[in-house]
Symmetry: C2
Subunit: 206 residues, 2 copies
C-alpha cells in the first residue's frame, strides 16, 4: 500500500462525511471528479488520495460508494476495536463511559477507574468502575491501548505515568494541563475551556 501522508489523513474524514451524507437513493457509483466538485477541492488531489487507499476505482464508472466508505474507514483505523479505559469517574468520566458513539471510530470503552471507593461500582448502562489499583491487571488482561484522563489537572501527570506503566500507548487528555510523555506515546489534548474561551473572544469582536 502507498504511504499515507498526514494531509491525506486530514482529508479522508472529509471524504467520508460527504460519502456518508449521500442520500440512500443516490447512484451506487461516484467519480473522484464529482467528489472534488462537491467539496470544492482539487480534482487531481482527490484522485490521488483515493487511489492511495483504493484499487477499486474504474475509468468512466468511478468508485462504488459503499466500498469506498469501507476502504476509508479501514485506513482511518475505524475498523479496529481498541480497548480503552477511563481514569477519573466524575461526571465527565461517567458521561464518556456511557457514550455509545465511540464504537464507530474503532474505540471500545471497557471500564473506568477511580481512586475514590465511593465512585466505584456500575453506571446505569452496566459499565463498571473499578478501584484505580486494579488498572495494571485489567490493562494486561484486556490488552488496553488507549487511556482517557478525566481527573483534575493536578493529578493528571501521575495518572498519565501510571497508564504508560500499564502499557497504554495513546492518551486522550481532558485535564487542562500539559502531559510529559516518552516519544512513542501519543497524547491528544481536549481542552474544553479553550473552546469556550474562543467563543468569548468571537463575541467580543464580532
Amino acid at each position: 500500500m502507498s504511504r499515507i501522508s498526514n494531509g491525506m489523513l486530514e482529508r479522508f474524514p472529509v471524504y467520508l462525511n460527504y460519502l456518508k451524507s449521500l442520500p440512500e437513493d443516490a447512484p451506487k457509483n461516484i467519480s473522484a471528479t464529482a467528489i472534488a466538485r462537491a467539496l470544492c477541492m482539487g480534482e487531481v488531489n482527490v484522485r490521488k488520495d483515493l487511489a492511495a487507499i483504493s484499487g477499486s476505482g474504474k475509468p468512466k464508472i468511478g468508485y462504488i460508494v459503499s466500498d469506498l466508505i469501507d476502504e476509508i474507514e479501514t485506513n482511518l483505523g475505524y475498523k479496529e476495536n481498541r480497548g480503552t479505559v477511563i481514569v477519573g469517574a466524575g461526571r465527565l468520566g461517567r458521561a464518556l463511559l456511557d457514550y455509545v458513539g465511540f464504537k464507530e471510530y474503532g474505540i471500545n470503552i471497557l471500564a473506568a477507574f477511580d481512586n475514590n471507593p465511593d465512585a466505584c461500582g456500575e453506571t446505569s448502562s452496566g459499565k463498571k468502575i473499578f478501584p484505580l489499583s486494579h488498572l495494571e491487571e485489567f490493562c494486561e488482561e484486556h490488552k488496553v491501548q488507549i487511556g482517557v484522563i478525566t481527573v483534575p489537572a493536578v493529578n493528571a501527570q501521575n495518572v498519565c505515568d501510571y497508564m504508560v506503566e500499564c502499557g497504554i500507548s495513546a492518551i486522550w487528555n481532558f485535564a487542562p494541563t500539559h502531559l510529559n510523555v516518552r516519544r512513542n506515546i501519543i497524547v491528544q489534548n481536549q481542552n474544553i475551556a479553550a473552546s469556550i474561551a474562543a467563543l468569548s473572544t468571537h463575541l467580543k469582536w464580532k
Copy 2:
C-alpha cells in the same frame, strides 16, 4: 484602539499562556524580544501585536507582566461576565454546569434547562436545572448571551432555534450535528467523537 486581526486573536492566548506560566519570582518586566524568543516567534510581529492592545510598553524596560496579562485578557473578552445557559441536563450538561473553570474566560454558567421533569432540580453544587419552558423568561431576565447545547443530535436544531428566539447570540454545540443559523449568530462546534477518531487514526499510522 487599533483593529485586532484574527491572527492576533489566535496569538494572544499563546502570549497569555506564556506570561501566566512565568515563575512568581521572575522579573516584573518583560520585553517583546524575550517573549518572541521564548515562543520562537518573529520579534517584529510580537512587538506589533502587543502594541495593538497595550500602550504600556517602554523602550529598554518592556512591559509590566501583570499589566500585559490584564490587557490581553480584556482584549480576549475574558473580563466579561457573559450569562450562559445549558440546554440538556444529562451527564455532560450537568458536568459543564458544575465546572468552575469557565469563569476565568468570562463565561458565567447560570443554569441548565431540560424538557424531562425528572432531570430538573439542583446539582450537588447548588446550580439549578429548570424546565425548558422557562428558558425564554430566564434569558430575558438574566440577559443571557451564550447557550450550550448538550442534547442528542436529533433535537439540537430545535433547541438552537429556540435559543435564538430567546435572544441568545452565541451557541456552543456539543451535539454531533451541523446547526443552521442566521448570519449574526455564532456557533462553536465541539465534536468530541472527531477527536477520538483522530486518536484512532494516529494509532493506526504511528
